[in-house]
């Protein structure tokens, strides 16, 4: 600013250092705890310097929680949510901003409404729907009395049972989390700022709508896509409630869920050293993403919550 205020600047640095400590001290203490033996971690007071067991604890956690498999699952789920949501959102945003057709506003409002309910408030019905995604078809069959009609015509009795179980599958973990329209709105707003001349020019050149989309709109959206991809990756990696409910098979859980089983409970051995090293390991991929892509990350954060 204009004037010099060394005292205030000093105070500001002090405030920021306290803020930095607020973030870093828990992480540092977790690292210290994660590097001790189980006897050392129960000492009072906890040592201030890390021990030499960090790799050993990581190894214990890795095998105990089957993290090899769980990390793989987390990557699939996070990547699936990121790619899936961006793909369907780009297409639908393109449709509602660049085409005039009947029911355009109906489609718009159907998508808009989905912004309003987070998955946490509809977990149990969503669970039912995904446990048997053929349920709606089953209702149609029952409502039309198809099986009794069949019985009357042919004399055979059959029960039509439709099953499409998605429990413990990747689509079951991914699709319900894609079902909200925040990304569609981000792209819609961005498309509305793209100059009309680009579309007019490409039409004069005889480009089809999809050619316009691929060779002009998509390259222009690159930075928005990158920013959103970071946010969605974090969102997918850090999901908790849905994978917790939805995976009965231990091999289909995600890393964050596996971590929960390492927390010492009252009646178990207080293996906080293993739990803390595992916690650091599980938070590593998202932290790497954020640190590496800081600039796009901030843009994505501020944009995506509009």
């Amino acid at each position: 600013m204009v004037e010099r205020a060394p005292v205030l600047d000093g105070i500001c640095h002090a405030i920021l250092l306290v803020g930095v400590a607020f973030v870093c001290v828990p992480l540092y203490l977790a690292f210290v705890a994660g590097s001790l033996t189980i006897a050392e971690v129960q000492q009072v007071p906890l040592p201030w310097l890390p021990g030499d067991q960090f790799v050993q604890n990581l190894r214990t956690a890795w095998t105990q929680a089957n993290f090899g498999r769980l990390f793989f699952n987390s990557f699939i789920v996070a990547a699936g949510i990121t790619v899936g949501k961006i793909a369907v959102s780009l297409l639908s945003a393109f449709a509602i901003t660049y085409f005039r057709f009947r029911f355009r506003m109906t489609a718009f409002w159907l998508i808009f409404v989905s912004l309003m309910l987070p998955i946490e408030v509809r977990i149990s019905p969503t669970y039912e729907s995904v446990a048997n995604a053929a349920l709606p078809l089953q209702w149609v069959v029952e409502a039309l009395h198809l099986s009794s009609a069949w019985n009357a015509i042919t004399g055979h009795t059959i029960d039509i049972q439709l099953q499409w179980n998605m429990v413990d599958t990747y689509p079951g973990l991914i699709l319900p989390l894609i079902a909200s329209a925040s990304a569609t709105f981000l792209f819609r707003q961005f498309f509305l700022t793209v100059p009309d001349e680009l579309c007019e020019a490409s039409r004069l050149d005889g480009a089809s709508p999809m050619q316009f989309f691929w060779s002009i709109l998509l390259p222009l959206s690159r930075s928005n896509i990158a920013a959103l991809a970071i946010i969605l990756f974090l969102y997918g990696w850090n999901q908790y409630l849905w994978p917790l409910l939805f995976t009965t098979d231990k091999d289909m859980a995600t890393a964050v869920i596996g971590l929960k089983h390492l927390i010492p409970r009252a009646d178990s051995q207080p293996a906080w050293n293993v739990a803390m090293s595992a916690a650091l390991l599980t938070m590593l991929p998202p932290i790497v993403v954020v640190v590496a892509l800081q600039r796009s990350f901030v843009k994505g954060l501020v944009d995506s919550s509009k």
């Binding site: 500001c12 729907s129 964050v256």
Partner: protein, 302 residues
Amino acid sequence: MAAAIESGLKRAHFKDVRLPVLLLLPQLAILLFFFFIPSFRALGQAFFLSDPFGNTVHFVGFDNFAQLLQSDTYHESVQVTVVFTILQNLLTIAVALVLAFASDRVIRGRGIYKAIILLPYAIAPVIAGILWAFLFNPAVGPLAQVLHALGLAWDPNRVGSDAMILVILAASWKHVCYDYIFLLAGLLAVPSSLMEAAAVDGAGPLRRFFTIGLPLLMPTMFFLAVMNFVYGFFEIFAIVDAVTQGGPAGATNVLVFKVYVDGFINLDLGSSAAQSVILMIFALLMTLLQFRYVERRVSYDV
């Protein structure tokens, strides 16, 4: 062609009919199966009573809601949730505001401070919960030892208020960075001509912050308060489940955790669905508030 401008439609547009339908199909199909059908099912279930195995179902009208409103545990849960969200809101916004003001002032090192303060955003709520559960674990936690040394009988496993403090701290630690980045963006966007004019008039940095910066930040703070309520209501689940399991004695039994316990552990589907519906109405109101704010700062007709 460009005569009538429809809202949200580009002036230069295509008139194909089949293509846009195909383009919309994936999203609408996913929304139908995983959003609309489940939401309507929740509405339906809220008016029925079913046994845990789903064999007999009968219509009970508003009974599920009436029972909820009379239940003491539900009242406690509402109270716990309200106390939690308000305290969490005040704490995160206050801390974030101080940090944003300081970051706006300093020039040297701003990038590094920002990078570190933003880190918790990348960390899952459940991991934040586990970290703080360790730090304040009465047997081994280093911060709990500090409190014990000060003569405080800290024990979140037995004392309800201690458990609540623990959950608030973990949730705020995870969420301060979110409020911070919005407030900092807001402060940086204050026109420097305004600040300079005030400086020429002799207003010091603090005075400028309170008379110019803060009023201009009010819409952002309103938006953040709404977002914090949504965070407090819904994303708190992971922290509560990992750290306190709603205990001790229901002291941290927030609404979204109760929905889960009633529906998936006690298998009381009707009550759980009725609770879901109440939360849906709340989420709806919050989203509408959010859009009021968005409407004001984003212009759609470009």
